[in-house]
């Protein structure tokens, strides 16, 4: 859909285990390292780190398992997160600030403020979220590398 196939410079896949709270943050940390090594602008790294962290949290908190794929092309980076789990019954509701279906365990681990999906949207240039109730969720987001605002120094 976006020409990714033609220009992939970096492609990595990570597996995320649902419910594995002690490991939360490990995958997004690895993604951050890859972006740093690739010499991407600081702002891109920051936005990607935040969006990836939130996406990783969602799989750990709400799904049985998931895969996170990172694609880097000369013009953009793309992250695809596919998970198996109960899915999202109402996506519009899920995208609103503060809406949360977190349980006690999730909150004890410091998650569940209901800001995850809105945070991903705020930090990415394009975002697509689809879900099949009782099967899982598919999330994709893109951050453009050649956009002016992504190349400005950090705030």
């Amino acid at each position: 859909m976006d020409g990714t196939e033609n220009n992939i410079l970096i492609h990595k896949i990570f597996h995320i285990e649902g419910g594995n709270f002690p490991n939360a943050g490990l995958i997004s940390d690895q993604v951050k390292k890859i972006l740093k090594e690739a010499g991407l602008p600081k702002k891109v790294i920051r936005r990607t780190s935040i969006a990836t962290f939130e996406a990783e949290m969602n799989v750990i908190c709400y799904a049985q398992r998931g895969n996170l794929s990172l694609f880097i092309t000369p013009n953009f980076l793309k992250v695809v997160v596919e998970d198996e789990g109960h899915g999202i019954p109402d996506i519009n509701l899920a995208m609103s600030d503060g809406y949360s279906t977190a349980d006690e365990k999730i909150r004890e681990w410091g998650f569940g403020a209901g800001m995850g999906l809105p945070n991903i949207r705020r930090n990415t240039d394009e975002m697509v979220l689809t879900s099949k109730f009782r099967e899982g969720t598919h999330l994709e987001f893109i951050i453009y590398l050649d956009r002016q605002e992504n190349m400005l120094p950090f705030e």
Partner: protein, 116 residues
Amino acid sequence: MTVADIVKNFGLQTRAGRERLLEEVTGGYASDLLSDVIAHSRKGNIWITIQTHPNIVAVATMKELAGIILAGGREPDADTIQKAEEEEIPILISPLFTFELVGKLYQIGISGMSPC
């Protein structure tokens, strides 16, 4: 100082528990981790949090807190409002983030707890 004084002073909106606004406030407690609130808060404290689910009412009732202020413009869930009305726990809203809200409460004389 009562909960009503705080409401007036900060222009807070009240979402539940209007009949209990004359409760005297003994101090302030700020935390989003329920286990902490259960462990350390004291009767009559005003609790500042961003948690909006009904369990906050259960905790406030258990610890006999004077009320809950939701910071950062958070709105309580519908279930939370209902439960708060049943238990007569004031739920108030502030657009300020926790740090600033607590800072301002501290300035008007609400104190925290002594160090651990």
